[in-house]
């Protein structure tokens, strides 16, 4: 419980510091403070997420699920998160167009990752029909 409070305090300090720095002669530092704050907040949460992912892989082993599908899901999750992080930072810095371009690239890479799974699903369906 106290970790979420720590994160909230850190986020508020970042917001206040960012606004303050935008008034100074180096507004670019404001974007950097927000970037560093966002990175630190996620670094704090990452260990728990790693734990959840480890449990999912164990469950997949019990269910004898194919490992590659699970890893593709994790990859998609990772790509989605990193591109969301970067797109938001770009929008904060005033570069809306850059943000949308990052998201478009992320969507394309996710689609590329999803193609093998679709192929295997189609193959299994065709086998059932024959």
């Amino acid at each position: 419980m106290e970790q979420i409070m720590e994160i909230i305090i850190l986020a508020l300090t970042c917001a206040v510091a960012g606004v303050f720095i935008n008034e100074s002669k180096l507004p670019v530092l404001g974007v950097m403070v927000v970037l560093a704050g966002g990175a630190i907040i996620f670094l704090k949460v990452l260990p728990q997420l790693a734990e959840v992912i480890r449990i999912f892989t164990q469950l997949a082993d019990y269910a004898a699920l194919n490992q590659s599908y699970l890893f593709t899901v994790f990859k998609v999750l990772g790509i989605a998160y990193v591109s969301e992080f970067a797109a938001q930072i770009c929008r904060d810095a005033g570069q809306g167009a850059l943000g949308t371009k990052i998201e478009m690239a992320a969507k394309i890479s996710v689609m590329v990752l999803a193609v093998p799974i679709m192929m295997s699903v189609l193959e299994s369906i065709i086998q059932i029909l024959n």
Partner: protein, 66 residues
């Protein structure tokens, strides 16, 4: 609060650079004033980039993105 340390470091850096910049501009040395901006920027980059790099390496290892 180790993590808040970088936030306060950047804020202090911004204050110092602003004061130095205004002071040098008053003293008529505009090129040095601009130079302090660049020095401040590089110091900030030197502190922020390792944090972001650590984030991306950890995300890569957690989500098996390599």
């Amino acid at each position: 609060m180790i993590d808040g340390e970088i936030i306060f470091f950047l804020t202090g850096l911004a204050i110092a650079v602003t004061i130095l910049h205004t002071f040098l501009k008053q003293a008529g040395r505009d090129e040095y004033a601009y130079l302090t901006l660049i020095v401040g920027l590089t110091i900030a980059l030197l502190k922020v980039i390792p944090v972001v790099q650590q984030l991306f390496t950890q995300v890569q290892s957690v989500f098996k993105l390599y």
